[in-house]
Amino acid sequence: MSLLEWFLDPAHWSGADGIPMQIGVHLFYSAVALALSLLFAVPLGIYIGFTGKGEGIVAGIANALRALPTLGLLVLLFLLLSPVVPGQLVYGIPTVIVLVLLAVPPILTGTYAGIQAADTEAVNAARGMGYSQVQILWFVQLPCALPLLLSGVRSSTLQIVSTATVAAYLGLQGLGRFILDGRAQGDFSQMAAGAILLAALALILELAFIAVGRLIVSPGLQRTTRAPRKIVPTTATAAIRLTAS
């Protein structure tokens, strides 16, 4: 069966293991992991960015997290949790934990780098004008941090969506199913279809992020008319830290 035929086969578009369902499950796990990551990383990032406390430690931990092999961690967590966690959760929890560990560093660094990169002059001015700490954070630093924060969330999301495929290794549904099953069944079309669906999903999310960025980041911070030459090394490095991860 060719790749095209695989896609055209109506059987692959319906049912509990059809494409729409698998995309839905995939997005569900991704969304849960992203939400948890945001819940954890954004407040922590704000705290670090605002107080400057623990930046070194967090940067180190973030880098170490990046080095943690997803597969090993997933399997270890499964073995550790399987005696204590009942039912379906024994597959879901390790998956979500692994995805969260993966997603936290970019969001965290994006948030605190964004807050620290907020124009110090503007922050000073706000303080001098009589903005309270909370007001400075809310009205000046956070809006200014948005571009970097968003780019952190963007790379986290792409990482989550791409890595959520490993959930299939623990028997969970999602787009990883097509890839793993396709391989186990020697069905190349199914596997390639899984990869294509995933790349398409990532592309759509990427475009969605660009759109969201345009919507919620102030045009004052989107210097689209300026040439990209004005990148100083420090911000470039920060940007890499975010995009790559």
Binding site: E121, N124, A125, M129, G130, C144, G220
Partner: protein, 368 residues
């Protein structure tokens, strides 16, 4: 009135930034804190709105100790302008100006309208209102900074090197505009600068601080130039202080203004009569001086723009003796060109007359 009473600031590492400063910044006046870097001028200023806490001593606003006030409430009474304006990059110009009034509960419409007025007041076209800070030049941003500081109409204004980040031409322009604005609004202002010329130009009162955070002298600009209290202040105001002091002496009737023979551009050389010297002043159709002409070197039969020597300057009748002297020195004819408020020629003053007028004035004031 902002009053410093024996204020000191010592940092935990033992550095003394400000040492026992007592100073009064009177209401409606502009007090300049000036001094070399490390003299504690910025620290002193930032203690007023409690961005920095004094180690000892008190600062009071119209008799109320600032320590007794809530820091945020205190700051809202005091406008604040800083070096690079510190505009909020994510807000449009008009929203930058309207930011604090909005925060204090003003309606969107009201605060924006007021902001537009203020922008006009600081000389910014309304077309700038919807732009973002990065789309403005440094000078324009600084104007917005001033407008924003005035948005809640605070009685006090603190200005931290407000004009230092722009080029000299724009700086002079901003200074002039700001003096006009202050004449209008009469805020109680403390301004920090490292530029002694700016201090002398803007200040009603200038406080010179020396390294180590002690106050060297507080005086009016003229006094400071005429009577520096010690070698440090004398050195700081500069060796050109004798000449600078003339900037605070107004021209008066004691200086004789003589009518000047003029020519106009396009005039035929044959119509020029006898001239008292080689140099003759050219004016335009409304009698505004445009340059000097060397009668011996006119290239053709007609006086054209290429015949003009443009090195001279003009001085207003209301200007200082320094401006007058400068005009005479700059002019190829050694005559200062004086104009009226419309820019039309009033006459010229010879260098000799200016110098003798200065000499007579000094004799009349034996202290100088």
């Amino acid at each position: 009135m902002i009053f410093f009473d024996a204020v000191s600031k010592m940092y935990p590492d033992g550095t003394v930034a400000v040492d026992n400063l007592s100073l009064n910044a009177p209401n409606g006046k502009l007090t300049v804190l000036v001094g070399p870097s490390g003299c504690g001028k910025t620290t002193s200023m930032r203690m007023i709105n409690r961005l920095i806490a004094p180690s000892s001593g008190t600062i009071s606003l119209d008799g109320v100790d600032t320590q007794s006030m809530n820091a945020v409430q205190l700051r809202r009474k005091i406008g604040y302008v800083i070096q690079n304006a510190g505009l909020f990059p994510h807000r449009t110009i008009v929203d930058n100006v309207a930011a604090l009034p909005r925060l204090l509960g003003g309606s969107r419409k009201q605060t924006r309208m007021h902001a537009m007025e203020l922008l006009e007041h600081v000389g910014l076209d309304s077309s700038f209102a919807s732009r973002y800070p990065w789309q403005l030049s440094g000078g324009q941003q600084q104007r917005v900074g001033v407008a924003r500081a005035l948005a809640t109409d605070p009685p006090y204004l603190l200005m931290d090197e407000p004009f230092s980040a722009v080029d000299p031409i724009v700086r002079a322009q901003l200074q002039d505009e700001f003096l006009r604005l202050q004449a209008d609004i009469s805020k109680t202002i403390v301004l920090v600068t490292h530029d002694v010329d700016e201090a002398l130009k803007l200040g009603d009162q200038v406080a010179v601080l020396r390294t180590g955070g002690t106050l060297a002298q507080v005086a009016s600009p003229a006094d400071l130039l005429a009577h520096p209290t010690d070698a440090f202040v004398a050195d700081f105001v500069g060796s050109a202080r004798g000449y600078r002091a003339l900037g605070f002496v107004n021209t008066d009737d004691s200086i004789p203004v003589t009518p000047e023979q003029t020519v106009t551009l396009g005039q035929h050389t044959s119509t020029i009569g006898r001239t008292p010297s080689r140099w003759i002043l050219a004016v335009n159709a409304v009698n505004q001086p445009v340059g000097w002409v060397d009668v011996e070197l006119i290239a053709g039969d007609i006086i054209s723009a290429s015949d003009l020597n443009l090195s001279g300057t003009v001085t207003s009748a209301a200007g200082s003796v320094r401006d007058l002297l400068n005009s005479a020195l700059a002019s190829p004819s050694s005559r200062a060109v004086m104009i009226d408020s419309a820019g039309a020629l009033r006459g010229t003053v010879t260098l000799h007359d200016i110098v003798s007028a200065i000499g007579q004035a000094k004799e009349a004031r034996p202290n100088s």
